[in-house]
Each structure stands twice: as C-alpha cells, then as structure tokens.
Amino acid sequence: MKKIGWIMLAAFMFTTWMTPGYAAKTSPYRIGVNLELTGPWAEVTKTLKNAMMLEVERINKAGGIQGRPLELIFEDNGFEVGRAAANMTKFTRDKEILLVVGPFEDNLQATTRAIAEREKITNIIICPSNPMVRDLKQQWAFNIAQSDIIVSQKLVDLVLARKYKKVMVFHGAWPLAQSLAEYFKQFGEEKGIKVIVSPETHKPTDIDMTPQLTKIKPVLEKEKVDAFYACTGGPPGPMITKNLRALGIKTPVLGTHAFGFGFIIALGGEAMEGVEFPSAKPVVFDQLDENDPAKPININFDKRWRERYGTPSDQIAGYGYDTIGLIEDALKRIKGKVTRSSFREAFENTKGFKGTHGIYQFSSTGHDGLSKKDMVFVRIEGGKFKRIQFPGFD
C-alpha cells in the first residue's frame, strides 16, 4: 500500500506539471489563439501572430477597453486535428477566455467549430474556404477573410472585363483550391464564359508542374483558350507560371487572391509578369482611391508595422489588425456584463467596421464579414503589384 501512496504522489506531481500555469487573474480580457505555428503555414501564422500582438500592445498602451487590457494566449496546434481540438478544449475550459481565434487550415476548422458550437464560445476564423463546413450553419463561428465565393465572383468580373471567352482552370488538390475552382465554374457559366476544369491537379508539395502542364498543353492549343487560371496558393502558383512559360505557352495567367505576397514574385521571377488576380486591398493599399476608408488605415498600420518589424506589412498582417479591431469594437459595444454569449451577440451585430481589408458587416445570417466590394484587381508589372481598374467593374 505504501507503494501505491508513492505512485499517487508521483501522479500528483505529474498532474501539477500538466496543469497550465495561467489561472485566476480577473482583470484582462483573454483571447485564445489556436494557430499552426509549426508546419507548412508557419510563416503566415507568424505574421498573423505579430500583427495581433502589435495591435494588442497598442490597445493596452492606450488604457485597454474600459480599463481592462487584452491578453493573447497562444497555442501551437502543429497542423494536426487532434492537437487543434485539444487546444480548443483547453481554451473553452478556461472560463476567463472570451473567444478563440484560429485555426488557419480548414480541415482543422471543422472540428474546432464543432467544439465551439458545443461549448458555446466564439470562434473567429481567418481563412474560410470549405463549403461543407460553411453549410453547417454554425452560430458561434465567424469568418474574417474573403470567402471563396466573393473571390470567384470578383475573378469572373475580371474575366468579363478582359473579354476572355474560354478559361482553363488548373486547380490544386486541396479544399480551398477545389472550392475556388467549383465556384468559378458555377459563376462563370452563369455569365456565359466557357470554363474548362482540368482533370489534372497538383499538390502543395509538387515542386515541378511540367508533367501536368505538358498534358494540358495540347488542350490549350486545340481549344484556343484565352486565359489560364492557376487556381492555387503558395509556392505552386509561381511554379505553374514558370513552367508554363518554360514550355512556351504564352496564354495570360490569372491567379487567386493568394498571389498577393512578395515571395510569390521572388519565386517566379520574370515569369510572373502580367499575371492578374483579384486581390485584397492591403496588397496595393497605396494605390487605392483617395476616398477609400481602407487607405489611411493601411498607411497608418504599415508605418507602425515597419517601425516594429522592419518589413512591409502584407494582407495577412491586415487580417491580424482587423481581427483585434473587430474584437475591440465588439467589446466596446457591450453594455453590461461581458460574457461569452454577450460577446457573440455584439460581434454578430458588427456593422460597418472599417479595417485594412475593407468594411465588415456581420448579421445573424451572414457570418462572412467582407463582400465583393472589398477586393480590387491587381496585375504584376516590373516585379511590383499594380492596381488595374476597369470602368463598370469596381
């Protein structure tokens, strides 16, 4: 029996080690952040993390929200469903935590959103994409980023403005790229564009697209396709353009909103010249209209970002700014006690919040904040992003 006592003691020590350190302090509003800080999205989530920290510092320096500061608690989910769910329950259990931001990858979102629904905690998601998840009609999940629907609608506008008749879609084999391709086909055919979705796909790990493109090449030539839609994100984007040009195909290339990063141009080099895509506003914030409310916000934010981190800000940093801004806005509007449910109510009633990406409108039926108006057309020229405008399509 003595032995069991010892084992109990050991178990007790083990458990105290396992209990998280943050416990009872009442003053700050705590926000759980559940992100892929390791794994393929690490760079993106790091930017997001830095932006959120920058904003929280600003708010806290200004005295917080009604005297209470914000506090971010980060957990890494390592790109795994199990760990994302574990972090989510860790956050929901801590009654001090008001809401959870993340995860980024949509396969992980399905699980965390289900937990958010069950445990009744607001879950803010940056990268919504999966149509199946969206169909679940969840009450507690909100999307910050441009949804695949509005990106596809904006791209259809671009195609109409350029008067392309036939577009070939070469999409990636992951949910976001797939649903972008499907929506583009749906909206494009409504507007009378002929959309050919290639049966060939690519994976995010593919480093060479030549085999697939070689197989597509005869179709491109036979069908006299006007434009080639590289429906992808991350490094495959520039690789596709590079390989297309290496194969001697001169068809104009269209991209997704995920092309709006500096490293895309660095990877693709000269091949990226002339690529056009619908983009978020922070990508070309200095070229926005003078009366656009997003312009001063972006300029101000970019200045602070450069001071702190020394690099230009990008659209992901913009999401971080908008997330914290929206949370601050919702917290300010709450009258009475701040609870998880009153926060959700306030967040759902966000109307006309002006962020770096545009104007956010939430309602009980629409949990996607942005609309088609919050996107612009961008063309890559001389190694820079350049805004292009078409009368009647803005």
Binding site: D76, R83, K90, M132, W174
Partner: protein, 360 residues
C-alpha cells in the same frame, strides 16, 4: 541483460543500493513480469482503478480530451507492439489501417446510416481484411525493407483516399460523423468518451495478455529471436507474422473508428506518415516487449506534445531533440529498466574509471 545488470548492482556501492531501494517503491519495473510467475496482480488492479478514478478526481475537460487522444494512441501502440515488440517486425504503415478504420466508420455512419456500434466492428474487420491482403506479399521482407514497404503502402493508401472523392470525400474528407452510441446511450462528452476508449483499451489489453501467453504469443517470441530456429521447431513463420500483423491492424481499425466518432471528421491529412512514425516512437519509447510500456509511451508522448504547444514555433525542434535524447539515454524505453538507467545516470561520474566494465 537484466540479470547481468542485477549482478552488477550487488557489487556496487551501498549508496546506490539505497537509492535503488527508494526508487523501487516509486517506479514499478515492468521487466519483473519475467521473473515472477504471472498472475493477476495488485499492480493490474491498481492500473485499472487509476484509469477508472482518474477523470473523477481531476474533472478537467481538456485533460479528459487529452486522455481520450492518449487512449486512441494507446490502442494503436498496443496493436503495433504485438507486431514490433513481440514478433520483432517493423511497420511504418499503421496509420493506413487507422485510416481504413476511420473511413469505414465515416462512410457507414454518414452514407448508410448504420449504427456506430456496428460500424465500430466493421472497421476492425475492414482493417483486418486490408492487412491480410497486404500482409501476404509484404511480410516476406524484413528489417529496413519491410519498414519501407509498409511506408509505401501508407502513402499509396493516402493517394487512393485523396483521389476517390466519391467514396471518401477526397481532400475535403467527411464531416459530421455521429458520436459513438450504443443502445440509446450517446458518448457525447469527453468524460463519457474517456470511459468508452479506456474501456476498449482495457479489453484489448486483456485480449493481448491472453494472446502473448498463448501458443501464438510464444511462437511470436520464437520468430522474433530467430526465424530459422522457429521454423525448425515447426512454427509456420509466415502465418504467425501475418496473424500478428492482422491483429495489430484490427486494433488500429478500432482506434480509427473511435477517432472518427470522437473528432467527428475524417480527412487524409490525419493518416500521414507522421502518425505512423509517432506510433512507432510510442512503442519504442514505451519499451518493446511488454504491454503496459506502449500505453505509457502513448500517454507520455501525447502529453509531451500538448505541453510543447505552448512553446509555439520552438515546439517542433524541441520535440526532435527530446526524442533523440530519450532514444540515446533510454534505448529500451522510458518504463523499462528505468531504475537501472537512473542509477546509471546518478552514478555516471562516480564510476568513470570502471565504466568500460559495466556492460549496460
């Protein structure tokens, strides 16, 4: 090896013996199984009651969820330890059988509306059928080539899952899998799921305990030590290996079914090579050749990964370093010979001159 180590101890300083004596109260040594005649001992009862009482004395949903994950990993590791620890073969394809189980449950419950209890058993059978088909040609190989071939099977399985969107939902996967329910009782909270999974695990441990003490288990040990010797004794080596492989796969199928109904999603990213490596790591770290070791390894690694989450981007390099250090300092597993290892570490500097003689 163990006897030798014990003999060394008798000649050692009194100080170390006292430390050893204290440690023996603290950490039970799983290797003791071999020296005493087996019976259902107090220790088993202690483990069982600890599993039963644990969530009640510590009512924290996060820990419950973590233990649910650890239990699922434990089932996987238990299945693999029969193959890796007892039969001495290595497999890096366990995640594929896990995936087979998860997808069987997902498809049967969401498409055909089958009760999850039936789907649970169907998953095990499906995984076992896959293992039978795959195992017959693959198990001809051994060593590194077997590891690589099973790894190849895992990758092919992933590609098939991704490409057959009509059956498996492709890269998107399947959502909204109902919770496990039996006779009208739904396991919808983490506490209930904890008891479900650890109950299944307890049953499987009992099954494995009987298995390793049966004729088949003894044959396995013979195969592990020498295939030629085993076949000279009249053991059908190929059949024994295939049998153990199939049992391990069926365990993985059960784990996959439970995972699908706990997480309520199934998508291909979950069943990648990383999971297979993690499971092998659990078995290796927990200690090959006993049944509690892999479960201890599963709990340890699951908790470790969760703890490391707080170090954000440093978590993965830290994890790699910890794994390598554990492998170097505890090559027989963290549970096995823990006392011997600790004493070895404590006395490392004191014995510097005699180190050559001690063959640990």
């Amino acid at each position: 090896m163990v006897d030798q180590a014990q003999k060394e101890f008798r000649t050692r300083d009194l100080l170390y013996s006292i430390a050893l004596w204290f440690l023996s109260w603290l950490i039970p040594d799983p290797q003791l199984h071999y020296r005493r005649e087996y019976k259902f001992k107090k220790r088993d009862l202690f483990y069982l009651s600890a599993v039963l009482v644990f969530p009640l004395i510590w009512p924290d949903p996060h820990i419950h969820h973590l233990m649910v994950l650890a239990g699922i990993h434990g089932i996987l590791a238990l299945g693999l330890t029969l193959f890796l620890g007892y039969a001495g073969q290595i497999s890096l394809g366990q995640a594929a059988f896990f995936g087979v189980g998860a997808y069987t449950t997902a498809v049967l419950t969401t498409r055909y509306g089958l009760p999850s209890f039936l789907a649970f058993w169907a998953s095990a059978i499906m995984a076992a059928i896959f293992a039978l088909l795959i195992g017959k040609p693959l198990l001809k190989l051994k060593g590194y080539f077997l590891a690589l071939a099973t790894l190849g099977f895992g990758e092919i399985f992933l590609v098939l899952v991704r490409e057959n969107a009509s059956l498996t939902g492709g890269v998107i996967g399947i959502f909204n899998i109902p919770f496990f329910s039996f006779a009208g009782f739904t396991f919808d909270t983490y506490l209930k799921q904890y008891y479900l999974i650890w109950g299944v695990l307890t049953g499987l441990v009992l099954f494995s305990k009987n298995l390793v003490r049966s004729k088949m288990g003894r044959a396995c040990l013979a195969v592990a030590s020498s295939e030629e010797g085993a076949s000279a004794l009249g053991i059908d080596v190929a059949w024994i290996k295939l049998g153990v492989f199939t049992v391990g796969a069926a365990f993985a199928g059960l784990a996959g079914s439970l995972f699908a109904s706990v997480m309520s999603t199934a998508n291909p990213e979950t069943f990648s090579l990383n999971l297979s490596v993690l499971i092998v790591m659990m078995v290796v770290l927990g200690g090959m050749g006993n049944l509690y070791g892999p479960i201890a390894g599963a709990i340890f690694l699951t908790v470790l990964i969760d703890r490391l989450s707080r170090y954000q981007e440093y978590s993965l390099p830290l994890y790699g370093v910890i794994l390598i250090l554990l492998l170097i300092f505890f090559p027989d597993g963290i549970g096995t010979r823990l006392r011997v290892r600790l004493i070895y570490l404590i006395s490392y500097f004191g014995r510097k001159k005699r180190r050559e003689k001690v063959n640990l």
